[in-house]
């Protein structure tokens, strides 16, 4: 191909077409879908968070909220479907097949693209978990549609398009991304970024059972084994109600035990900023922030953490952020609710002591 | 491939190493430059003044693509006590010339740019590699280097040590003495980001004009040192430095010193609303002429800060570094062309050439100052700035006291705190050191 045959390159700034010009064949695409993530019989809670959000989007669009459940065990699929209804789904697309015993990209992609092509949703949401990210990329590429990964906010704009907001440039900025002219509009959201909705007990809906034509012999990749994390020390940070975390301000690995002790007294989890992982003071599963865990506790106590943007995005969902920092100008005070300008190394043990005293006294009183 | 012998190996990719490598590569020598940083400039403290002349002699049209921030049109010299400053400002439209004389630069970017020129000139540049030792032959002639990547040594006809003030290679190989704590300053500095418009309004600038503030006084808490503030395009470099041996005797940390400087009532409003994004510390050789070590030997030359080539009084360093680098490069090229070996006697040409430049002339001129300031630090960095400030205040405060009495009061305050004899002595010594 010669240079002259090329069309002129697009202008350097802005996307080629930022106007909505939805091709005719996509106009039939309707409804908001959530892919319910099931591993080992249980639906991942991120799927319920997505259903809560999907409900709002569907209502704004005046369409149905669909949930996709797939697996090999009918009873657990039914259980997941029932939960999906309680969390807001109107309809559940249910695929039950022996090849779906474990998550495998190959099969899951086939099933999901088949469902999309058959029932034509306009929005498809997945959890930004290992499973969701593995599947979303394959599905979007197969369908040649746009996918906005790791969103922090979903919205419907005036024209009825999905406006997906996500951090960019290492979290320093946010951007709002649209998929105007392709369908479905796909997005993934990390666990704990969206609030968990209240389930409505006994709420039900329609089940659409979708038959698939799959043969284990055609499937290349085999699951030889699943080794569950039995390690009880694995942090459950995303779901903890109370999290105490430390940063470089603690100055040494030994001092980090002050964080753990306070977390213990409060029955919470402990975590830390990324440099602590890099220094080996804590394990990677305890890192909080953009490249670590997003948390949403009722109480978050941050000691000796400066509050860099990458940390901030992981903790902003906390109901109450208490920051201890010796520097009154530390950025963490920009988003903490309560601030204490103090030396964490002396205040943490004092807090541990005071908390345990109070809890004990109250216990005796009651 | 590693068995090849380079015409020259340059250790370090600061201004001096780049000047040397560029000069030689441009002249067709097979040059290897080794830098321990991730890239040239990555280890260098940001924000500095570039003196155009020294670079022009190496890359005449550098203004076309070098990353320059602002050209300096105004110089402010301040003596400060804790609440005031007394200033001498010089600003001239003449500095808005076609080829400005001084620029503010960000070293990380500037060094990277210079390094790209070195590569274009044909030198091989190896980053993230630290030279660990010099390889010598049986006659003690330097014939190559070893690096922290292990493997066979890399051979060269001459090694140019451009490793900066605390470069260890020369020291470890016994070519240079260990730099003494009273001939080197520790400077700490920060970059503060502010919008272009704010900087221009705050410093009375337009376009790419820039201001430099240099300050001394009680800001160094009685230690020998100075503070500075430069305007960059969208940031301000602010820093302070003191002689290392003074820090050692004082309980003030460099960081605390900088914090106090930034919070000085004369500095604080200049930084208001800015966002600090970088903190760095670096050593500056300040021993002057007397501290210059042996500069050449069999198979080696020292350039830049490694040779203590800094004029502390005028805050010049990179220009001396580039000039010594260039002259070393020219000397090696000259020997190469003559097919002469890089023996100590032949390389002495470098020293001869240097002696005719401003580098040696200036350093000689100021040779007495470092010791003078250091030995009288309580006066120069405490007493005198306070006295000057008091005098100014007495003079400018309108309070019904007649001017003759004011003059007497000023004179009295000077005399009562420092003996007339002592003060005259200091002035006399300062003039002598300066001469």
């Amino acid at each position: 191909m010669s240079e002259s045959a090329k069309p002129a390159p697009p202008a350097a700034s802005g996307r080629a077409s930022t106007k909505k010009e939805l091709p005719e064949h996509f106009k039939a695409y309707k409804h908001v879908w959530v892919a319910v993530e099931i591993e080992h019989g249980h639906a991942h809670s991120v799927s319920f968070e997505l259903l809560g959000e999907g409900r709002k989007l569907a209502d704004r669009r005046g369409v149905e909220l669909g949930a996709v459940v797939m697996g090999d065990d009918r009873s657990s699929l039914d259980a997941a479907a029932a939960q999906a209804f309680e969390y807001g789904a109107d309809v559940v697309y249910l695929v039950c097949h022996p090849t779906l015993a474990h998550y495998r990209n190959e099969v899951a992609t086939r099933v999901m693209t088949d469902l999309v092509n058959t029932y034509q949703p306009e929005i498809l949401l997945l959890g930004a978990t290992n499973l969701g990210r593995d599947l979303a990329g394959s599905v979007a590429t197969t369908l040649l549609t746009g996918l906005t990964a790791d969103c922090t906010e979903l919205e419907i704009d005036e024209e009825g398009s999905l406006a997906a907001t996500r951090p960019t440039f290492g979290g320093s900025l946010l951007c709002t991304i649209f998929t105007l002219n392709f369908r479905p509009q796909m997005a993934t959201v990390r666990p704990r970024v969206l609030a968990m909705p209240e389930p409505i007990a006994a709420r039900t809906g329609r089940i659409v059972e979708h038959a698939v034509n799959l043969d284990e012999n055609d499937i290349v990749t085999k699951v030889l084994q699943f080794i569950a994390d039995r390690d009880s020390d694995k942090a459950q940070l995303p779901y903890a109600d109370i999290v105490v975390a430390g940063g470089l301000g603690l100055r040494s690995a030994e001092n980090f035990s002050l964080v753990r002790e306070l977390a213990d007294v409060l029955g919470g989890e402990y975590g830390g900023s990324r440099p602590l992982v890099q220094k080996g003071w804590i394990t990677a599963d305890r890192q909080i922030g953009q490249t670590g865990k997003t948390i949403r506790p009722r109480l978050y106590i941050a000691a000796g953490i400066s509050g860099a943007i990458q940390h901030r995005v992981g903790v902003e969902g906390a109901d109450m952020i208490v920051a201890i920092n010796s520097d009154p100008n530390a950025p963490i005070f920009e988003f903490a609710h309560l601030g204490i300008v103090a030396d964490a190394i002396t205040l943490l043990p004092a807090l541990t002591e005071a908390f345990s005293k109070r809890l004990r006294v109250n216990r005796l009183a009651s | 491939m590693v068995n090849q012998t380079f015409d020259a190996i340059v250790v370090g990719a600061g201004p001096s190493g780049n000047a040397a490598a560029y000069t030689m590569a441009k002249n067709g020598l097979n040059v290897l430059q080794i830098e321990r940083g991730e890239y040239a400039g990555s280890k260098n403290v940001q924000g500095a003044i570039l003196y155009a002349d020294a670079l022009e002699k190496i890359i005449p049209d550098f203004r076309e693509d070098a990353p320059l921030e602002r050209h300096v049109i105004e110089q402010r010299m301040w003596t400060m006590d804790d609440r005031s400053h007394t200033g001498m400002h010089y600003r001239s439209e003449d500095f808005n010339e076609e080829k400005p004389n001084r620029y503010t630069i960000l070293r990380a970017q500037f060094d990277k740019w210079f390094s790209s020129k070195v590569k274009e000139a044909g030198a091989t540049v190896l980053c993230e590699t630290t030279v660990t030792e010099l390889v010598k032959d049986l006659e003690d002639k330097v014939i190559g280097v070893r690096t922290d990547r292990g493997g066979a040594p890399i051979m060269a006809n001459v090694v140019i040590l451009a490793e900066g003030v605390n470069g260890l290679v020369g020291e470890r190989s016994g070519l240079r003495p260990v730099v003494s704590a009273d001939s080197v300053a520790l400077a700490v500095k920060e970059m503060h980001f502010l919008s272009r418009e704010t900087i221009e309004a705050r410093f009375n600038l337009s376009g790419n004009e820039g201001v430099v503030i240099e300050a001394m006084g009680t800001i160094t808490k009685g230690m020998t040192g100075t503070g500075f503030l430069y305007t960059n395009e969208e940031s301000i470099s602010v820093g302070i430095g003191c002689i290392v041996s003074d820090f050692a005797q004082s309980d003030v940390t460099p960081y605390a010193l900088l914090e106090a400087f930034k919070n000085h009532p004369s500095i604080k409003p200049l930084l208001a609303g800015s966002e600090c994004k970088e903190y760095a510390a670096h050593l500056i050789p300040e021993g002057g002429y007397k501290a210059i070590p042996q500069l050449v030997g069999d198979g080696w030359i020292v350039v830049g800060d490694a040779g203590q080539f800094v004029n502390a009084v005028h805050r010049e360093g990179s220009n001396l570094a580039m000039t010594t680098g260039r002259i070393a490069g020219e000397t090696v090229t000259w020997l190469h062309r003559l097919r002469e070996e890089a023996s100590k006697a032949n390389l002495a040409e470098y020293e001869k050439r240097l002696a005719t430049t401003f580098v040696i002339k200036d350093l000689k001129k100021y040779r007495g100052i470092p010791a003078l300031l250091h030995n009288n630090k309580q006066n120069f960095f405490g007493l005198y700035p306070r006295l000057i400030s008091q005098a100014m205040q007495t003079w400018f405060r309108v309070d019904g006291i007649d001017k003759v009495s004011k003059e007497k009061e000023i004179f009295r305050s000077f005399r009562s705190t420092r003996t007339l004899f002592g003060m005259i002595g200091d002035a006399f010594r300062l003039v002598r050191a300066w001469r």
Binding site: E3, P9, L174, R298, V322, F355 | -
Partner: protein
């Protein structure tokens, strides 16, 4: 065996600044690095090659300056570096990026031998989507193995590969076939230093540079901005919370301060207090 590693040059986001007034990224002077996650992929590839023989090709799509990252990969010991650069690729989202890279991989296969494994990092630190790897796999129809923590076995003769993959709540041991696309998990290995021989060779090595025409792109509407279904409409800085923290102070030492802090927490969040008491009831 032939292994290709896709690496991306990214701005070191630790050093990115947002313009305080215009809310735009100030790229000037921000150093670039190899996407840290890609180094785990590269090291794994080098180890496989060292063990089983063959070659490692590194591939990147980016501006001409991205060749710096490729050169660095050569320093570590990669055998060949390919830079894909063309203004038509500018503004690519994950779909367009995977298209360009997959097309380049076809050309690499034709010129230097079909890859047995294509590696990518888990995700980038600028795009941060973790989608480009799966996109490439789909386009090339390679078996997709994401979040691989360990390559347990590679049987070239049988064309099989066994990996441990990080899944939710555990590790999947997967048996798959080559060619495969692997996205490597972080912290699975440590990048080597690179010998002086490699470093010297890399300093003067030639980076193979291809544009869209070179790799045989026939439909330019699949590239760059045009080929990107996603549209970035707005970029903005995270808003500051309206009220800053209320500061708690107390005279007379840490104990009193600690007490004041607890009172403030309980006053603001009675639910936390209730929860804690409930928890305490089970403890003390």
């Amino acid at each position: 065996m032939h292994i290709v590693v896709c690496i991306k040059q990214v701005p070191d986001s630790a050093q990115i600044r947002v313009h305080p007034v215009h809310n735009t990224i100030m790229r000037q002077g921000v150093p670039t690095i190899i996407n840290p996650y890609d180094l785990f992929a590269l090291e794994e590839a080098l180890r496989l090659r060292d063990r089983l023989g063959g070659e490692v090709t590194v591939l990147t799509m980016g501006p001409p300056t991205a060749s710096e990252s490729l050169r660095k990969a050569l320093t570590f010991g990669a055998d060949r570096a390919v830079l894909l650069t063309d203004r038509y690729f500018a503004g690519s989202d994950t779909l367009a990026t995977s298209y360009a890279l997959a097309t380049a991989l076809e050309k690499i296969a034709a010129e230097f031998g079909a890859p047995d494994i294509v590696f990518t990092g888990k995700q980038t630190i600028d795009g941060d989507t973790a989608q480009v790897g799966p996109g490439i796999a789909k386009r090339l129809n390679y078996n997709q193995l994401t979040y691989v923590a360990r390559i347990a076995e590679t049987d070239l003769a049988a064309g099989t590969i066994t990996v441990e993959r990080r899944a939710e709540g555990g590790t999947q041991v997967l048996l798959s076939r080559l060619p495969a696309l692997i996205t490597m998990l972080e912290a699975t290995n440590e990048m080597r230093r690179g010998s002086i021989e490699n470093a010297l060779a890399a300093a003067s090595a030639k980076v193979i540079t291809w544009n869209a025409t070179d790799i045989g792109v026939t439909d330019l509407t699949k590239c760059g901005l045009r080929g990107s279904p996603t549209i970035v409409k707005k970029v903005f800085a995270p808003g500051a919370r309206s009220e800053k923290a209320s500061f708690i102070e107390a005279e007379g030492g840490s104990d009193l301060l600690a007490d004041a802090v607890i009172s403030a927490i309980f006053a603001r969040a009675p639910a936390v207090e209730a929860d804690l008491l409930e928890f305490a009831a089970t403890q003390y």
